[in-house]
Symmetry: C2
Subunit: 320 residues, 2 copies
């Protein structure tokens, strides 16, 4: 009898769901809207009812489902499936795991969404089953997931892998959404790159970035201007990749991974990002750490979370 | 039948050995000299023959020994017991685990010495069985061991936990023994503290450190001068604890530990070290990371390695 995993990647706007085979092929994926009513209390029943109809539609029996792996955008106790707090959903001290288990009668395993994305890339993406991997997502913010000895580092109260909030500017750094200043996120996110480019414009109105900025500057614009030879854009990116490369090198000295997986919108710059990033990394890492470590671009995009959810079930059931 | 673990902490000068009960009491501990002849090739037989006589002396039968946990000063593959390279012993690509197993006929498990010390503190020291712990040893150098999900992070080629070589000064830092510049070790080791104090003396000959330095300045002198109100000594220590506190905070954001265990000679300063260190840590860590995390001084001293060795056996045999 064919068995399946269910992945549910719960975000502030939509919940991405998928039915996934034991070897990690997506049979079907779909989305439902995130229901914010009553502090997100209806989300488990929304998942349950949507899943139920989908399984009927696909002709999958209950006993073919091995379990649900769910990602939540916030701090999670992965052992108990307890969600301490979330960013874009009203959950606070929410028993996601046990409520979803009660409603669906399937085994449920929960982790932070960025951690699940790291697990997804490990299993079916560019992580190539590495047991020691650091995933860095450069989007509006900077997210991360660290895998050591094959397992996600969730930590004692769910803040493990919050790479975006590593302090990179000890004094006088820009304010971060987390309340601190000088976090990696203020430099290496798309938002950070745009902020630095805007600072460069104000200091040097000669730059070609000025024109681009009239339509609202994006991180992509900065990469394109640098490629076209704009000096200010190049300086901004040199600074960003230096700071990011050093931060990843320092993490790599601690965790000694074989893969660094770079994802998120900014990673679409591809080699234009990876080449200077790798150069900075090599400058700051131990040679031995460097030689064992490969930089790759994430491959799974929006599917990383649901595939990571499936792998979390696989891992917890000892089916690895 | 009472069972025992054997710990062997192999250093450049001596090999510390111990017979340890299942609950972690040291029955007997002793040392033998590290035999550097033939690139350290005789070390396994030295351990074997010393252990054999000790077991006879104690009346312990072969079948009472559960296994040997050995620590090596260098890069190790903990899965295979293979030592890639060592610092003070001639080993390079040395099959420590299998050679020692062949000679003694006991199961042998190997890890880096600093990692074993972290495991020892976790099990029987101030780590209080925390599954998420960072150990930092401030001695001549800066060593470290990171435990996540209950296991040491050894990494893909054995450089995991090399906290001393995290870059804290991106440009123009002091040279480190590893070949890089600006490593944490150049600031937060006893050697680093003395170097910074000597720099302070050369800039400001008014300091009380001048007198102390005539007999060869030590890190302890710097702590004592600061306690006695010396401004330059205080500034040196404020700087050291700020840099160290930020580095540990950044690691803690990544690993979210419940314990930070500070050991080594410099840790003898106790609260004079911990109080400013904790203050710096709180400034740079996420509040949620901070509130879950306790700073403690290591308790086991030279016994940490052998106890960690015993725990490594316990863990690998599934006796936890």
């Amino acid at each position: 009898m064919q068995k399946y995993y269910i992945g549910a990647d719960i975000g502030g706007t939509t919940i991405k769901m998928a039915v996934i085979t034991e070897d990690g092929s997506i049979v079907e994926k779909w989305e439902i809207s995130t229901n914010h009513k009553d502090e997100g209390n209806h989300i488990p029943e929304d998942i349950q009812s949507s899943l139920k109809s989908k399984l009927v539609e696909l002709g999958i029996q209950k006993e073919q489902v091995l379990g649900i792996g769910a990602g939540a955008p916030g701090f999670v106790n992965a052992d108990s499936g307890f969600v301490y707090q979330t960013v874009n959903i009203g959950w606070r001290n929410f028993e996601l795991g046990s409520i979803l288990n009660e409603k669906t009668e399937f085994p449920v395993f929960v982790d932070n969404d960025a951690n699940l994305a790291a697990l997804g890339e490990k299993w079916k993406g560019s992580g190539e089953n590495s047991n020691d991997l650091i995933a860095v997502t450069l989007g509006t913010g900077v997210g991360g997931g660290i895998i050591a000895n094959g397992e996600v580092i969730n930590g004692v109260n769910g803040t493990g892998g919050e790479i975006g909030h590593i302090t990179v500017i000890p004094e006088g750094g820009a304010a971060c959404n987390c309340g601190k200043t000088g976090c990696l996120e203020t430099i290496a996110s798309a938002t950070g790159i745009v902020r630095l480019a805007e600072e460069a414009i104000s200091k040097n109105p000669e730059t070609s970035l000025v024109e681009l900025s009239s339509n609202g500057l994006t991180a992509k614009d900065v990469f394109q201007a640098a490629s076209a030879g704009d000096k200010q854009a190049r300086e901004v990116l040199d600074y960003v990749t230096d700071v990011l490369g050093m931060t990843i090198a320092n993490l790599a000295i601690a965790c000694n991974p074989s893969k660094i997986v770079i994802g998120g919108g900014v990673s679409k710059a591809g080699e234009d990002l990876l080449i200077p990033l790798r150069k900075a990394f090599d400058q700051y890492a131990l040679p031995r750490t460097s030689e064992a470590c490969e930089f790759v671009i994430a491959e799974l995009g929006n599917d990383a979370g649901v595939l990571g959810g499936a792998f979390l079930v696989k891992q917890n059931l000892g089916l690895e």
